[in-house]
């Protein structure tokens, strides 16, 4: 399909010749995109998991409302703003991109960690205590496994969300597929734009599927609709 003659320069939506000669370029962007996403997810989990556990254990610290409020507020701030504000302090690299991405994921994941841990039936906890599990062992061997479905659900949402937001890191020179979108904008060049958008959708689907599969392997006794 030809583009509308919006700029009087005819430019097909996908120039297959360009695509076939630029496979490494596109794949490189995909790799950068995945790297940024992976770091954000792992970072989010590394913070959210202990945070959720601590919030439930030491309720006198009121960590739960504090964490939800702080990260909740952080969540409402658009990513471009956070990138722009961090530049003077953390420069133009991965750290600037990842701090907001990790922050957003912490909110999503900590909520799910809390819901997951909350959902463990008290009878099960009693039974575990009765069987002689000490608190830490009970956490690792009983509570967390039962919380896994909720945590995985959170991971799926966080992953798809992150893949979308990573495109915006293009405005600070990163962004993987976002760079192709930005190039499409600046040069009025359709192909990288369309290819990148399509690939984002594909990546999100594949990642979602992969996590769902991992969940099915890890938590065979529970099915999440």
């Amino acid at each position: 399909m030809q583009a509308r003659l919006f700029l009087d320069i005819v430019d097909p939506w996908i120039n297959w010749t360009w695509l076939s000669t630029h496979i490494p370029y596109v794949l490189g962007a995909v790799q950068e995109h995945l790297t940024l996403t992976a770091i954000a997810l792992v970072g989010g989990l590394v913070i959210a998991l202990p945070l959720g556990i601590a919030a439930r254990r030491w309720t006198n610290l009121h960590l739960r409302p504090a964490a939800l409020t702080v990260f909740g507020a952080f969540y409402t701030i658009p990513s471009i703003a956070l990138f722009a504000l961090l530049i003077p302090y953390t420069g133009l690299g991965i750290l600037t991109a990842e701090i907001p991405l990790v922050g957003y994921n912490v909110l999503i994941l900590v909520r799910n960690v809390l819901v997951g841990l909350d959902s463990v039936p008290p009878e099960v906890l009693d039974a575990a205590d009765g069987m002689g599990y000490r608190p830490f062992a009970r956490l690792i061997r009983v509570e967390l496994p039962l919380a896994l479905p909720a945590i995985f659900a959170g991971l799926r949402v966080a992953t798809v969300s992150t893949i979308g937001i990573v495109t915006i890191t293009a405005v600070i020179g990163l962004g993987g597929l976002g760079q192709l979108i930005l190039r499409g904008l600046i040069e009025s060049f359709h192909t990288p734009l369309v290819v990148a958008t399509a690939l984002c959708i594909v990546l999100a689907f594949v990642a979602d599927l992969a996590i769902a599969l991992a969940q099915r392997l890890a938590v065979p006794w529970a099915r999440n609709p």
């Binding site: 120039n15 790799q31 992976a38 420069g91 904008l185 890890a218």
Partner: protein
């Protein structure tokens, strides 16, 4: 039961590790011996990407390890990045750089050498320096659609003065405070437009605004190659408001060895404005990659000999 749980954790861990491995994959081995690493940045328009690639590829050919940060942003983002050491080189434009580093003091002239010398007095305090300016020039230019030019019989910016009040002007966010933009148009030509729209600096929004008639006068760059194809014509700067915006590499003193300077100056010595226009055309109209265009240019001029 325990085995199941163990398998669960193992799977989860495997997923994480695999993601990492896939993501951190190949970072590409660097050459055995490298003279050092430099980071070359460019502003967020195609010509800057081409210039950055020219510098970067020449340095790479000379044995340096080069990182690129293309489409980084406006001068207000790129210049601080240089000062903080996050980037080492960027392709500047002499007069615009001077007016940025002197906070708009109005010292730039039409003489690229003098302008660059003045620029260096400011850069010295920031541990940076500008090398030898090229004869290749790209400064702010003000365009109108061919229809508007025909309607009001416009050839120069002075022709705009009587009718500016009927026209809408479009430029980027830095225009209201940038010497060679609105302040200059107002003080040198006495232009007071009906309205000024904040779009982008010679970007897709400005072009779109011309297309749908939202603006009649807009900021473009003098070496843009797609103006004719877009039905735009540049008005001549008859009162010489635009000063010497010659291409000049701005580098951090820390990496400005004689070798680096030689490589960069060599490129700029042979670069002409016509070259800029040609290369811009290849990127903007033919959608070729900036690095390929730069590569072709360097090959053609036997830099890789």
């Amino acid at each position: 039961m325990n085995r199941r749980l163990g398998a669960g954790w193992l799977t989860a861990a495997a997923v994480v590790v695999l993601t990492f491995v896939a993501a951190c994959g190949s970072s590409g081995g660097t050459g055995a011996t490298s003279k050092g690493t430099v980071t070359v940045a460019g502003f967020n328009f195609p010509e800057s990407s081409v210039l950055a690639e020219l510098y970067g590829q020449a340095l790479a050919h000379d044995g340096y390890s080069v990182n690129y940060k293309l489409n980084l942003g406006t001068r207000k983002v790129v210049a601080p990045a240089l000062q903080s050491g996050q980037i080492d080189i960027y392709p500047g434009y002499a007069a615009s750089e001077l007016e940025y580093y002197n906070n708009g003091a109005g010292e730039a002239t039409a003489d690229p050498v003098a302008t660059t010398a003045k620029l260096n007095t400011y850069l010295a305090k920031l541990n940076a320096e500008a090398l030898t300016p090229s004869q290749a020039f790209d400064g702010n230019a003000y365009a109108v659609t061919k229809a508007t030019a025909a309607r009001y019989n416009l050839k120069t910016l002075s022709d705009l003065t009587p009718i500016a009040g009927e026209l809408v002007f479009g430029a980027g966010p830095e225009c209201p405070t940038y010497k060679f933009c609105l302040p200059g148009l107002s003080s040198v030509y006495g232009l007071h437009f009906k309205q000024t729209l904040t779009l982008d600096t010679d970007g897709p929004a400005t072009r779109a605004a011309f297309k749908n008639g939202s603006i009649q006068v807009g900021l473009v760059f003098s070496s843009d190659a797609d103006l004719n194809a877009l039905g735009l014509v540049v008005l001549q700067d008859d009162k010489h408001m635009i000063a010497a915006d010659n291409v000049v590499p701005v580098v951090r003193t820390a990496i400005a060895t004689d070798e680096v300077k030689k490589v960069l100056n060599n490129i700029d010595a042979n670069l002409t404005t016509a070259d800029l226009v040609t290369m811009n055309g290849q990127v903007e109209l033919l959608h070729q990659d900036a690095d390929a265009v730069a590569s072709a240019y360097l090959q053609q001029h036997s830099y890789f000999a």
